[in-house]
C-alpha cells in the first residue's frame, strides 16, 4: 500500500510530518460480515432522484500503471542526481513519468522486463541504470488510487491554484469582507477513490478564510483592546493554535507558542552551524527588512516523525498572516453572518462553482495533455442515482402521538403545551443574579411560571439571591445556599465571561454535584422572545434534572445504545476527552453519561472500556437484566484512524463484554459516525437542484465496496447545502438487515432533547459531544458520578 517515501512527498504532506492515509484505504471491514456480503442496501422509503458531486474517472481500456524499480551501479546517493541520470534517457522512458528516486511509474510498458541504460556523470563516471518492472497495477489497486490523487493535485497546481493545507484555492478572484478584514478564497477539495462501482473523483467547493493583516497587526490591536497587563495572556489565548502563512514561502505553520524573551535581533543556528540573527537572515535570504525589532517570536513545532526529530521553527509575527477563524470570531454573530453570505452556497450555486473547476480542467491545454499522457479522463457530468426517503417518525409524548412536517424536521409547534413524559418538579431551587439584573430575574420567573404548568412541571418560588458581579461572589453563594434538597441552580450572568461560567460549572459538576443553568441577561431582555426562551429553558432544566421530554418507537428490545465522541484541546494541546453516553431504558429517554480525560499520548480506549463496564452495570440495575444487543455509535474518528479503531478499539469492546460473564454474549454493532465528509447530494426537483429532504438514505454508488456503509441526511438547513452524515458499520453481529440499522440510526437522530427536531447525528453522539465539550472547555476533569444518570451538561 505504501507507495514509498518520495512519492508521498509528491502528494499531500502533513505539516512537516508523515503522509497519512486520509482515505482509510485498505481497511476492509465488510468481508468479515457475512450477512452483508451480498447486499448492504435497505429498502424502505420513497425513491428519490439524486445527483452528487462525484465524477466518474474514465481511463482507456486495459489501463494499467507500470511500476519499476530503478537501481544504480555504482550506487548513487543523491535523489536529484538519480533523476537527472535517469532522464537522460527520455527517449526510452517517455515524457510522462513519476519518479521518487527509487520507484518509477510509467503509463507504458517498456519492451523488456529489465532495461539497462548507461549514463555518465559530470565527472565522467559511467553509471549503469537498471530499470526493472516490478508491478503492473490495475486501475483499482490502492497504489493506483493514491497515484490518481497525486496526478489530480498536479493538475490543480498547473491551474495556478494555491495549496493551503490540504486543499487548493484560487487566489485571483477573492471575496473581501473589509468590515472584518477578512478575505475568502474559493477552492476545491478533491479525492479520487474506488466507490461501489466506479473510481470517481469527489470534488467539493471549499472556502478558505484568510486575514488581511499580519500577526503583528493583530497583536497591536489586541494591545490596544486589553492593555499591557492582560496583553500576553490574551495573545496566547487568541493566537496559539492558529495557522499562519508566511511572506516568503508557501508553507503553513501552526503557532504553538510565543517566545516573549526573544525578538528579531535574536540569533538562531543555521544548518551549517553558524549563528545568525533573524533580521540578518531575512535580509540576506529574502531581502525582507523587519521593521519592528522588539516584537516577540512565534514558535511552531515541527512534527517530523521520520527519525523522531522534534524540531521547532521560529517565526516573525510581522512576516506571518493569519488564516482561518478564531473561536472568538466564530462567536461573533455579525461576522459569521457576513461570512455565511459567501460561504453557504445553496445547491445550485455550489454545483455551478464546481462546474467552473471542471471547466478550467477541460479548457486548459496543459492539464488535458497531462491527463492524456497518463491515459486518464473524467466524465464531466456528475453521477446521478437514486436514494430513498424514509418515513418520518411519530413523536410520542405522554400518551399522544405527533407527526411533524417532514420539510422542517421540527416539532416545536406540535408539542407546545403538551405534558412531558416525565416532569421533574422544581420544589427547591436557587435563582442567582446581580443587582442590575433584578428585573430580568423577575421576568424570567414570571415567564417560567406561565410556561411550566402545561408541561406538567410543578414549580415552587425559588430562593432568589442577589450577588456582586464577581466570580467569588457567585461561588460563595453556591457554597452557602445549596442544601441537600436543592434541585437546580439558575444563574443569570450579566455578560459572557468564560472564567466565571467555567468556575460555576466546575464547582457544580465536581465538588457539589447539582444541575445548573446559566443564562445571559441579554437573552432574557427582549419581551417579544421571552416566552420562547423561557420554554426552552424550562425544557432544558427539566432534562438536566433527569426529566424526559418525548420518545420515538424503538421496536428492538433489550438494547443498549452507546454514543462516543472526542474533544481535543487544541489550544493547550494537552488533553483529549472522550464523552461516553449509554441508554438506560427502552424509550431511549434516559442516558448514563461519563467521560474519560486523557493526557497527551495515552490511548482513549482503556478509559472507554471502563465506561462500558459501568454502563452495563447501570443498565442492568434499571432493567434487571443485561442488554442482549449493544449498538455503539462512535463519532470523533479522524481521517486515517479507522484502522486503529477496527484493530484496537473493537477488540477492547469485545474483551469488556467477555469480562462481564462467561455466559454473557450480547450482539454488538459498532458504527463509525462521520460528519465531515466530502459527499453532497442534491435532489433534482423540476429541473433545479434542492437539498434532499430529511430522511434521505443513500447506500449505493457513492458508498465504498469494502465497507458496510451508508449516508443519511437527517437534518435540514436554512441556507447552504445540507451535509450528509456517513455511517460505517465496522463490526456487526446483530444479524439485522441493513434497512433496520438505517432506520434505527435515523430514529436516534430524533432523540436529542436540546432541539425539538431531527439532528445530524444520533442523539447519544450529540450528548457525548456536549459532555466532552463542557469538560474540555470548562471542567478539565471527570465530573461527579452522582450526576451520571442525568443530562446535566445540556
Amino acid at each position: 500500500l505504501q507507495v514509498s517515501s518520495g512519492l508521498q512527498d509528491l502528494s499531500l504532506r502533513d505539516r512537516g510530518g508523515r503522509r497519512r492515509d486520509f482515505h482509510d484505504l485498505g481497511v476492509n471491514t465488510r468481508q468479515a460480515m457475512v450477512h452483508v456480503q451480498e447486499s448492504k442496501t435497505g429498502f424502505s422509503g420513497k425513491v428519490i432522484k439524486l445527483t452528487t458531486n462525484h465524477f466518474r474517472l474514465t481511463s482507456r481500456p486495459q489501463w494499467a500503471l507500470y511500476q519499476y524499480h530503478v537501481g544504480y551501479s555504482p550506487e548513487m546517493e543523491a535523489r536529484r542526481l538519480r533523476s537527472a541520470l535517469l532522464f537522460q534517457h527520455e527517449e526510452t522512458i517517455g515524457k510522462t513519468h513519476a519518479f521518487d528516486g527509487a520507484v518509477l511509474f510509467l503509463p507504458k510498458k517498456l519492451d523488456n522486463k529489465v532495461t539497462e541504460l548507461f549514463s555518465r556523470t559530470r565527472n565522467g563516471e559511467d553509471v549503469k541504470i537498471t530499470v526493472t518492472l516490478t508491478n503492473e497495477l490495475p486501475p483499482t489497486s490502492p497504489t493506483c488510487l493514491q497515484f490518481y490523487n497525486i496526478i489530480f493535485r498536479r493538475l490543480l497546481k498547473m491551474l495556478n491554484l494555491q495549496q493551503i493545507g490540504r486543499n487548493y484555492y484560487n487566489p485571483s478572484d477573492p471575496v473581501s469582507i473589509p468590515n472584518h478584514r477578512l478575505m475568502v478564497w474559493l477552492g476545491f477539495t478533491s479525492s479520487i477513490l474506488q466507490y461501489e462501482e466506479n473510481i470517481m473523483l469527489c470534488a467539493d467547493v471549499s472556502h478558505k478564510v484568510l486575514r488581511g493583516e499580519t500577526v503583528l497587526d493583530t497583536m497591536h490591536s489586541l494591545h490596544s483592546q486589553v492593555g499591557e497587563e492582560r496583553f500576553r495572556d490574551t495573545c496566547a489565548k487568541e493566537l496559539i493554535g492558529l495557522i499562519v502563512l508566511t511572506k516568503y514561502n508557501n508553507r503553513t505553520y501552526r503557532i504553538d507558542d510565543i517566545d516573549w524573551d526573544n525578538n528579531p535581533q535574536g540569533t538562531f543556528r543555521k544548518s551549517d552551524g553558524s549563528e545568525m540573527s533573524f533580521v540578518e537572515y531575512y535580509k540576506k535570504q529574502y531581502n525582507i527588512e523587519i521593521s519592528d525589532w522588539m516584537q516577540p517570536v512565534l514558535i511552531s513545532q515541527m512534527k517530523r516523525r521520520r527519525g523522531n526529530i522534534q524540531g521547532s521553527v521560529a517565526l516573525i509575527p510581522e512576516l506571518c498572516s493569519l488564516t482561518g477563524l478564531t473561536d472568538k470570531m466564530r462567536s461573533d454573530f455579525n461576522m459569521m453572518k457576513d461570512l455565511a453570505i459567501h460561504t453557504r452556497l445553496p445547491p445550485e450555486q455550489r454545483q455551478r462553482e464546481l462546474g467552473r473547476l471542471l471547466n478550467y480542467i477541460q479548457k486548459d491545454d496543459n492539464v488535458q495533455k497531462e491527463l492524456r499522457n497518463w491515459g486518464l479522463s473524467f466524465d464531466y457530468k456528475s453521477v446521478s442515482f437514486t436514494g430513498r426517503v424514509v418515513q418520518g417518525e411519530k413523536i410520542l409524548q405522554s400518551g399522544s402521538m405527533f407527526d411533524y412536517n417532514p420539510q422542517f424536521a421540527d416539532w416545536t409547534k406540535e408539542t407546545r403545551g403538551v405534558p412531558l413524559i416525565r416532569a421533574v418538579p422544581m420544589d427547591s431551587w436557587l435563582l442567582i443574579f446581580t443587582r442590575r439584573n433584578h428585573d430580568v430575574a423577575n421576568t424570567l420567573l414570571q415567564s417560567l411560571s406561565k410556561v411550566t404548568p402545561s408541561m406538567g412541571i410543578r414549580m415552587n418560588k425559588p430562593n432568589m439571591i442577589e450577588v456582586d458581579d464577581r466570580t467569588e461572589a457567585y461561588l460563595r453563594v453556591l457554597q452557602q445556599r445549596i442544601t441537600p434538597d436543592t434541585n437546580i441552580v439558575v444563574c443569570i450572568l450579566s455578560s459572557f465571561r468564560k472564567d466565571k461560567y467555567d468556575a460555576i460549572k466546575k464547582y457544580l459538576c465536581t465538588d457539589c454535584p447539582i444541575p445548573s443553568q446559566c443564562v445571559l441577561a441579554r437573552t432574557l431582555s427582549k419581551p417579544q422572545t421571552i416566552m420562547t426562551v423561557a420554554t426552552k429553558i424550562a425544557l432544558q432544566m427539566n432534562c438536566k434534572m433527569g426529566g424526559e421530554l418525548w420518545s420515538v418507537e424503538i421496536p428492538l428490545k433489550q438494547v443498549m445504545i452507546v454514543g462516543i465522541d472526542c474533544y481535543h484541546d487544541t489550544v493547550a494541546g494537552k488533553q483529549s476527552i472522550a464523552g461516553f453516553v449509554a441508554s438506560l431504558n427502552q424509550g431511549m429517554t434516559r442516558w448514563f453519561s461519563r467521560c474519560v480525560v486523557q493526557s497527551r499520548g495515552q490511548e482513549l480506549v482503556d478509559g472507554i472500556k471502563a465506561c462500558l463496564q459501568t454502563a452495563l452495570r447501570n443498565w442492568s440495575k434499571w432493567n434487571r437484566c443485561l442488554p442482549s444487543r449493544i449498538f455503539v455509535y462512535r463519532d470523533g474518528v479522524g481521517d486515517g484512524q479507522l484502522n486503529t479503531l477496527v484493530n484496537y478499539e473493537v477488540p477492547q469492546f469485545l474483551d469488556c463484554l467477555k469480562s462481564i460473564g462467561t455466559d454473557y454474549s450480547p450482539k454488538l454493532t459498532v458504527i463509525v459516525v462521520k460528519k465531515r465528509v466530502g459527499a453532497r447530494f442534491f435532489a433534482e426537483v423540476g429541473g433545479g437542484l434542492r437539498n434532499p429532504p430529511p430522511g434521505t438514505v443513500v447506500d449505493t454508488v457513492v458508498t465504498r465496496p469494502e465497507w458496510y456503509d451508508f449516508f443519511v441526511v437527517s437534518q435540514t438547513v436554512k441556507n447552504g447545502c445540507v451535509a450528509p452524515t456517513h455511517y460505517n458499520v465496522v463490526y456487526d453481529t446483530s444479524q439485522l438487515k441493513p434497512d433496520h440499522i438505517q432506520r434505527l440510526t435515523y430514529k436516534l437522530c430524533h432523540m436529542y432533547y436540546n432541539w425539538s427536531g431531527v439532528i445530524r447525528v444520533p442523539a447519544p453522539c450529540q450528548y457525548a459531544h456536549k459532555l466532552a465539550f463542557l469538560v474540555g472547555q470548562s471542567i478539565h476533569r471527570e465530573p461527579n458520578m452522582m450526576l451520571s444518570d442525568r443530562l446535566y451538561y445540556l
Binding site: A78, R122, N123, G124, I164, G212
Partner: protein, 372 residues
C-alpha cells in the same frame, strides 16, 4: 540537469558557502549596486537564481530562458506569487516569465533589459551557438550590464575526480587567458567595457590559478537608444513562453482599490464603534444626556452649514453615522495608498454609501443592533 549539485560533490576543496551560492550572491550584490528594473537570466535551468532574485525589491520584470523546458518546469511553480502576495499586495509590480528557446536565436521579448545574467552558460554552448551568442546578447538584447560566469580550467587540477570537464555536457572549459581574450574581443566589438573577477578563491600559495569560477562583468558604453524596441531590429518571436506570473501589486488599480476600500471600511468601523459607544454612554446616563442633546440638535439643524465648513468630526444623527471623507483621507494608511483626495473619491465611488452631497460616508446603524 543540476550543475550546482554535482559540483559540490566533486570538490576536494570545499567552498563555504557553496560555490553556486557564491555565484548567486555575486549577482544579488550586483543587483543591489545597479538596481536594475528588468533582469533576464539566460540558461536559468531550475530557476533557482530567478527565485532568489524575485525577492529583490528593485526588480519589476524577471525573465528566464533555457533550452530545456522540462528542467524549468520542474520548479517553475516556486516563481508563482504566494498567498500572502495576494493578501498584502506589494507596492512594486513584478512579472516573471519563462521562455523556452536558445541563446543563439533573437526574440524581441528579450529586448529592453537592464541586466542579463549568463551564469555557467557559455561552456554548454556548441561552437556554432557560441559564435552567435555575442551578437544575440550584446548586439541584439544590448542590456546595460551583462554578467558571464564560466569554469576556470586552470583550477580543475585542484578538484578531485574531474577527468576532462566538470560536467559531461560542457563543450569546453577555458583558462583565464582564453576567457579574457574572448570577453575583451566581444566587449570591443559591441562597445562594452569589461572587468574580470570571480568566486571561489584558490588555496593560499596557489593564487595564480585564479578563481574557481571566473566572471566577466560587461557594462555598455553607449546610452540606451530608446525605451521601446528600436525599429531597426525587426524580429519574429521564436521563444515559447512556458510560464508567466503577474504578481498582485498596488500599481494595479484593482488591487489598489481593494486595499483602499478594505482599509477605509475597517478604520471607519473603528470610528463608528467608538462613536456609538460614546453615544450609548451618553444616552444611558441621564446627566450626560443633557450635555449631549443640544449638540445633537445643533448637528441636525445646521447640517448644511457644517458640511460647507468641512467639519472633520464624524457624528451620529438619528440612525445614521456620518464620517466625512476628509477625515477618512487623514488616516495615515489611506493617505499613503491614495496620495490625493481626488484619488480616494474615485476609488471608493460606487463602493460605499455616501451622504447626499458626497462629502461624507454614511452608515445606517438601524439593522446592526442585532444581538449576539
Amino acid at each position: 540537469m543540476d550543475k550546482n549539485f554535482q559540483e559540490e560533490f566533486t570538490q576536494i576543496i570545499k567552498f563555504q558557502p557553496p560555490l553556486y551560492k557564491q555565484r548567486y550572491q555575486f549577482v544579488k550584490d550586483l543587483v543591489e549596486k545597479y538596481k536594475p528594473k528588468k533582469v533576464a537570466d539566460l540558461g536559468c535551468a531550475d530557476c533557482s537564481l530567478l527565485w532568489t532574485l524575485k525577492f529583490c525589491s528593485c526588480i519589476e520584470v524577471l525573465a528566464g530562458l533555457d533550452i530545456c523546458a522540462n528542467v524549468m518546469k520542474e520548479k517553475m511553480h516556486t516563481l508563482s506569487p504566494l498567498p500572502v502576495d495576494y493578501l498584502q499586495p506589494s507596492e512594486r509590480s513584478l512579472t516573471v516569465t519563462l521562455h523556452h528557446g536558445s541563446v543563439a536565436h533573437k526574440d524581441p521579448c528579450m529586448l529592453g533589459f537592464d541586466l542579463v545574467t549568463c551564469i555557467e552558460l557559455i561552456e554548454h554552448l556548441e561552437e556554432s551557438e557560441l559564435k552567435k551568442f555575442p551578437e544575440v546578447v550584446f548586439g541584439f538584447m544590448a542590456p546595460s550590464i551583462v554578467v558571464i560566469s564560466t569554469p576556470n580550467s586552470e583550477f580543475n587540477p585542484l578538484l578531485s575526480r574531474v577527468m576532462l570537464y566538470r560536467h559531461p555536457d560542457h563543450k569546453f572549459e577555458w583558462s583565464q587567458a582564453q576567457f579574457q581574450s574572448w570577453a575583451l574581443e566581444t566587449a570591443r566589438c559591441y562597445n562594452y567595457s569589461v572587468e574580470f573577477t570571480g568566486v571561489g578563491h584558490p588555496p593560499t600559495g596557489m593564487e595564480k590559478v585564479g578563481f574557481c569560477t571566473q566572471i566577466g562583468v560587461f557594462v555598455r558604453k553607449y546610452p540606451q537608444t530608446g525605451e521601446s524596441v528600436p525599429s531597426e531590429k525587426p524580429t519574429e518571436a521564436v521563444y515559447k513562453t512556458v510560464f508567466k506570473a503577474v504578481y498582485p501589486s498596488l500599481k494595479d488599480e484593482k488591487y489598489l482599490q481593494n486595499a483602499v476600500i478594505s482599509e477605509v471600511i475597517f478604520t471607519a468601523q473603528i470610528i463608528k464603534y467608538r462613536l456609538m459607544s460614546k453615544h450609548k454612554e451618553y444616552s444611558d446616563d441621564p446627566e450626560r444626556k443633557s450635555q449631549f442633546q443640544p449638540s445633537m440638535d445643533c448637528f441636525s439643524d445646521h447640517l448644511g452649514k457644517l458640511v460647507v465648513e468641512k467639519n472633520m468630526e464624524p457624528f451620529v444623527s438619528g440612525n445614521e453615522v456620518y464620517i466625512p471623507l476628509t477625515t477618512i483621507f487623514s488616516f495615515p494608511k489611506v493617505n499613503r495608498l491614495c496620495g490625493t483626495f481626488e484619488k480616494l473619491c474615485k476609488l471608493i465611488a460606487g463602493k460605499v454609501t455616501l451622504s447626499s452631497d458626497g462629502s461624507a460616508w454614511l452608515f445606517n446603524i438601524e439593522n446592526e443592533n442585532e444581538e449576539n
